[in-house]
């Protein structure tokens, strides 16, 4: 579960540092991709931990119920699957990570790391990122042939036009 | 930015959701 070349102990320390410093590295702004987006406030190194995707830890069955409820209320759905049993729901409570948009050519990647026996979703920089760049990661949505396909507006040269 | 997402609560750590007894019920007696 760790980026190549980092010992577990280092991951723990890096995680704890990130939890203290992340606000200095990111800021919310209007996104060119969709609604709001998260931007780098300063240069970010490759493989640096940027932010944790925080929210309510819910079971898959509860996730199904909530998705229907949020859709009925036309609420934007902010969720991230942590494993086969649990999902992080950041729709009603979470942090700024919920605003990071999808891109087919992302500058960040996500990793599940285990800290103090808890699984955490952490977003890492996939390459050196300049201050002012919008942070993106691949949402890794399952490809679906349903009628509710979500168009992708990332604008990347390799964009595949659909997010799911 | 809470103003952009009404009733949104910012939290620093993941929150274990405590399920209600009626979590799966559409209609109770």
């Amino acid at each position: 579960n760790e980026p190549a070349g980092y010992a577990t102990g280092q991951l723990y320390t890096r995680y704890k540092n990130m939890k203290v410093e992340w606000r200095a590295f990111v800021s919310l702004g209007r996104s060119g991709i969709a609604g709001f987006g998260l931007y780098a406030k300063r240069d970010i190194d490759m493989n640096q931990m940027v932010i944790e995707y925080v929210g309510e830890v819910i079971r898959s069955e509860i996730c199904e119920i909530r998705e229907k409820m949020y859709s009925q209320k036309n609420k934007g759905i902010y969720m991230f699957r942590i494993d086969s049993d649990y999902v992080i729901d950041a729709t009603m409570s979470g942090n700024l990570a919920r605003y990071i948009n999808h891109s087919c050519d992302p500058n960040c990647y996500t990793q599940i790391v285990t800290i103090d026996n808890d699984k955490k979703i952490v977003i890492f920089a996939g390459r050196p990122i300049k201050a002012g760049e919008e942070l993106t990661y691949d949402y890794q949505f399952e490809l679906e042939d349903t009628e509710d396909k979500i168009p992708c507006l990332c604008g990347a040269p390799n964009c595949v036009k659909w997010m799911n | 930015y809470a103003a952009y997402a009404p009733d949104f609560k910012e939290i620093g750590e993941n929150m274990e959701y405590q399920e209600k007894e009626s979590e799966f019920d559409v209609y109770d007696e």
């Binding site: 079971r59 069955e61 509860i62 | 979590e23 799966f24 019920d25 559409v26 209609y27 109770d28 007696e29």
Partner: protein, 118 residues
């Protein structure tokens, strides 16, 4: 002997060594028996051994497509009787049934009658 299945249950449920007792936590989950039935009349009994504050049980019958990670009676493949108010549930709809709670020490009898196979 019909006991609680080791595999056909939500993995977070604890099953005793003799596989006759199941203990749950953190939300409803289902454990099924080792044997299923196809026809005829079947009956089993369950004793409620413990009921920590605010916890409840929903006990009854279900088919294979009932969700193990939800309560019994959540979809159209399962039927349950709830300790709170004695409500029966099917397809997530609760109906008045025994009009009062069942609690620790009560023994529930669950009977199902399926048409005989011709």
């Amino acid at each position: 002997q019909v006991v609680i299945s080791t595999n056909d249950r939500a993995h977070q449920l604890e099953v005793s060594d003799d596989r006759l007792t199941v203990t749950g936590k953190d939300g409803y989950a289902v454990a099924r028996a080792t044997h299923f039935i196809l026809y005829g009349k079947w009956y089993y009994e369950v004793e409620l051994l413990d009921q920590p504050e605010g916890s409840h049980t929903r006990i009854g019958w279900c088919q294979q497509l009932a969700s193990l990670q939800a309560c019994l009676g959540y979809n159209q493949f399962s039927y349950s009787w709830r300790s709170k108010k004695g409500t029966r549930f099917h397809n997530a709809i609760g109906r008045t049934y025994s009009k009062e709670d069942y609690r620790v020490g009560d023994v529930l009898g669950c009977l199902i009658e399926l048409p005989e196979r011709d």
